[in-house]
Amino acid sequence: MHRIGVFVCHCGSNIAATVDVERVSNALAHEPGVVHSVNYQYMCSENGQQLIKNAIKEHNLSGIVVCSCSPRMHEATFRKTAEAAGLNPYMVEIANIREQCSWIHKDVEEATEKAIVLARTAVAKLTLNKPLVAGETGVTKRALVIGGGIAGIQAALDIADAGYEVDIVEKNPTIGGRMAQLDKTFPTLDCSACILTPKMVDCAQHEKINIYSYSEVDKVKGFVGNFKVTIKKKARYVDETKCTGCGVCMTNCPSKKGLNSFNMDLNTRPAIYIPFAQAIPNVAVIDPEQCIKLKSGKCGLCSMKCGANAIDYKQQDSFVEREYGAIVVATGFKPISLENFNEYGYADNKDVITSLELERLMNAAGPSKGTLVRPSDGEHPHVITFIQCVGSRDVSGCGKPYCSKICCMYTAKHAMLIREKYPDTQVNVFYIDVRTPGKNYDEFYRRAVEQYGVNYIKGMVGKVYNENGKLMVQGSNLIDNEQVTIASDLVVLATAIEPDPSVKDLATKLTISIDTNNFLTEAHAKLKPVECATAGVYLAGVCQGPKDIPETVAQASAAASKVIGLLAKDKLKGNPCVAHANEMTCTGCSQCAEVCPYGAITYENKEFRIGGGKTEKRRVASVNPAVCQGCGACTVTCPSGAMDLHGFSSAQILKEVEAICKR
């Protein structure tokens, strides 16, 4: 006999303003199986939970339905409440009458009717619920950090400092990421390398940290606490264990035409190279596209000159499989392609550059050794014009709809640094809005205007064109309601940023979701900003959304603390909502095993009594509950209906369908 309690939450006025909660609790009181039905202002509050606990004991309830916000909000809360009152936590169902009802409907009558149907549906399902007990699994005490930029470095250091092993997988030959390419950082103008490279060295020297550079995540299997990850180590044609990073190979390499991607292709590098002086690991790598030996078989100079005998032209991609308890994704960003923005003349004029290119031009280790010169002729530019929001806040389909967040600040930084170093330079900035929320940020921008005399022009640029060697920047000056044309020597585009393209594949491998802009989706925009919907996977840095270095470091440390919290546990409770086969009706046809994405289903020949004292051997399926993740693919494939899913049984769902369709 069912003894169901129904608890209708007002959620302040969030629900009660549009749903007549009194009517809902009264209507539900008459449902078969319901013995207790009440409403209360905040069910999730201490008092509300106490009310539920008391009712469970007082009315000896066999299950409860809470009509409240989405189960994604408070299902866990109410399950704990039930458990505290001695009820199996899986005898709890939530009717989502806020997100699916009060918040989207205006008419009280309509919303109340729908709330009643949703509550009835939950009751109907609950009548078929069975107490479930979650199994336990162990935790592999090692974390994987994907991406070796500042986010990955910070997360790895924090986790390692807490005493857990960490592997960093970085697709480039060195860790350091985008931050390694920057010259100075806002709002304090520290030298980027000065604050980053010590952390890179810490990673290299930390006994708990292992760096897989020039490597990619190939396959991911398993689940929280028990991930199995295959890492692909790309052939770098140099034995990492032998290379001393002396650089002799680089000076001797005859192929020097390859573009230097670390310098944003502004200059070239040898086919065998170390990306930059402070690279970690400080090991050379051969670009197979440029290497004469690898392409034609002739040459081999680097091998001859290498004192450590580290060159290995026959090296192949190799794979390692490692186990992890948690994963941090920190894959970072890239500037967008400018092919849709030819009005700024980027493709046709060498002296139209992106901000990241400017970083390299201003960097002492960059292609011009830190002297700001025009890429076209090496001359010092006297008029420099910056254009902000290139590709950001663009819904026309050419760019990105979001604000890239960092451009206002770095443009102010660039403007300031140029005025500081070359006071004879005129610096103009075309802007739509200057967005500088943050500690000391607006002050920083104002310094650019007030102290350094940077000429900020409110308005967007319509066209950049070359006339007699000058870059004519034609745009709006909205304050003066004028169209201005500024003859400039250098034009810098504050190019929008987007998630690194590798993130799409990775998201599929990790079964985490990405949004329409390819940013990874956090579990909750406000309350779970570093977690993913997939347990055990955490996010850090721009892969989750545009952010600057301070925010990235903060998020990386937050992700690390989540990982540490997870790895500190010895056992994890599993999900009891897993598949199970009815051996009496299973025909052993194997269709279910063929659709299981986890290989959780196996077959065995079992003896069954068939009456008359006889037995027969039959092939039947069995599910490993620790491996099953509860998707339910097998239940639909099974023609005999022998396969079912705890918590989402066919009978339960059919009961829900019937309850909804009852007119």
Binding site: E343, R393, V395, S396, G459, M460, G462, S476, L478, Q483
Partner: protein, 128 residues
Amino acid sequence: MNNDMQLKSLIEMSATDVRKCMKCGKCSGRCPAFKEMDIKPHQFVTLLGQGKVEKLLASKAIWNCLSCLACVERCPRGVAPANVIEAVRTTVARMQGGDGITAEEIPAEVNEMIPQQLLVSAFRKYKK
């Protein structure tokens, strides 16, 4: 027609969502006839958004807009300022005495090179 109806008709004829405008001024930054416009392309969008019909209808810029659509092409928000200008121009041309060009003005202007298309189009554009 009263102001409200005229506004409604202008919005309808413009067939563009002026609320999407983020006031960046790119349209006016690109406009090749900017200096000849008493109301600038971005202002057409803003004024329509504000419902300032009279100001729009009094504009002389509608006769100087070249219909080159440069403002439409590069708008980051997918707004079409040229559509607003054309809606205003059509509205004015449809009004009594609103023609931007008359047949009488033409004979002196025609030279032997003038393409038919220019005449046809100009009359379509500027006259009721």
